[in-house]
């Protein structure tokens, strides 16, 4: 391409087409080098007004290939086929960071004062959360894994991060915990746990088990099918795996109303009183088919951390 033609590039989409060396028009489908799904995501960012840098384009393409088992960090596992939600949180505003990697035609919504920056979507600690996914998107008849990478190391004070795994549709924001299962990291006692519905927890790690005791890094959990099928969890915190083979039958009613993603809130009296919106920063989120072995989890950890490092979001 001549400089004269380069100078006529008028949009980020044009620039993206130039980078991948094709002559395709909008939505041309990845031609030259990039994985077509990665290219669709890059194009969606361009349409939303964000110019993807060369480094970001390489990072995105490598990560999509990794999710498919054909990338530089993973040539074995397929996490793409069962992917329900992929959120790389790239861009400078909600419309850009909300674009879903697995379906760039869709985007999640954000509520309250979410802060958007190069480290991802960050809660303001006052009233911010995001709409991670619709709980009815997850089938009960398969194992599901949820993974989040938190890009800010906050001091280990009273931070609690709830991430809703699945719940009855009408209970997404306002209901109790019935028919939900969740990944929770609790930093005041430095531990993580999962639970299902009225069974308050299925697996909790010991106090002090998060080392270092800070919010940054990769957390994950696999839920093994429905409780009727035996249930059970694997939890992954900062590279350490914990397993609970079956659901523990402990009744524990909670008044907490769960918000997927950045926060939880509790109800006091007839009027909801917010008291637990957290300032945690999210750089990545993934929901896919169950990750079941330490080797697979280690590979996924390597894959996600490589992506975060390429985006300068990795935390020590």
């Amino acid at each position: 391409m001549s400089w004269a033609k380069f100078n006529r590039l008028s949009s980020s989409t044009d620039l993206s087409i130039f980078r991948r060396g094709t002559t395709a028009s909008n939505g041309g489908g990845g031609g030259g080098g990039n994985d077509p799904d990665a290219q669709a995501y890059i194009d969606a960012l361009g349409t939303a007004g964000y110019t993807v840098s060369g480094a970001e384009e390489t990072a995105i393409n490598n990560h999509f290939l990794d999710l498919k088992g054909t990338g530089p960090n993973n040539s074995t596992y397929d996490w793409w086929t069962g992917c329900v939600r992929l959120l790389p949180f790239i861009g400078t505003n909600a419309a850009q960071q909300g674009i879903e990697g697995q379906n760039p035609a869709s985007a999640i919504n954000f509520y309250g004062g979410v802060i958007f920056s190069s480290i991802g979507a960050e809660g303001n600690g006052t009233n911010a959360y995001f709409d991670f996914f619709a709980p009815n998107e997850l089938p009960d008849d398969r194992n599901n894994s949820i993974w989040v990478y938190e890009t800010k190391n906050l001091a280990p004070t009273n931070y609690v991060q709830y991430t809703l795994f699945r719940g009855a549709f009408d209970q997404r924001f306002e209901g109790g915990t019935l028919n939900t299962y969740q990944l929770t990291t609790q930093y005041i006692q430095n531990r993580i746990f999962c639970y299902y519905g009225d069974f308050y927890y299925g697996l909790t790690t010991p106090n002090g088990s998060l080392v270092p005791a800070s919010t940054g890094g990769l957390f994950g959990a696999t839920r093994y099918k429905s409780i009727a099928q035996g249930g059970g969890y694997d939890l992954y915190g900062k590279g350490v795996k914990y397993t609970q083979a079956n659901d523990i039958n402990l009744q524990y009613n909670t008044s907490e109303h769960i918000v997927p993603g950045l926060a939880a809130r509790q109800v006091s009296g007839p009027t909801p009183v917010v008291n637990t919106f957290q300032p945690i920063a999210f750089g990545y989120a993934l929901i896919t088919t169950g990750v079941s072995t330490q080797t697979e989890a280690d590979t996924l950890k390597t894959t996600i951390e490589a992506f975060m490092t390429a985006l300068n979001r990795n935390v020590p």
């Binding site: 909600a94 919504n109 309250g112 802060i115 600690g125 009233n127 531990r191 746990f193 909790t204």
Partner: protein, 90 residues
């Protein structure tokens, strides 16, 4: 104090004060694409309805430009949540 007097580094220390009517006007409404207002109660007694300074500063919805002129008050967080207790962990 108003929004223009605040530095971005001070956003987490202040919020915009709403009347109950204003709160009702904002619930379920977008202040920017894919971004919704989320009025909440603060920790004062009695509590105030508030929105964050981020929502005020980043509002591009012309129907709600008035949020930029809301009174600014210090953020008083509600009481912190109790740690989640489980028998096994203690």
């Amino acid at each position: 104090m108003n929004l223009t007097e605040l530095k971005a580094s001070e956003y987490d220390k202040f919020v915009g004060l709403l009347t109950p009517i204003q709160k009702d006007q904002l619930v379920g409404r977008q202040y920017a694409p894919n971004s919704y207002f989320n009025p909440v109660l603060d920790g004062n007694d009695p509590p105030n309805w508030i929105i964050s300074v981020e929502e005020m500063a980043n509002c591009v919805n012309p129907h709600y430009e008035w949020v930029k002129a809301l009174p600014i008050i210090p953020w008083v967080a509600p009481a912190p949540p109790e740690p989640i207790e489980t028998d096994e962990a203690n």
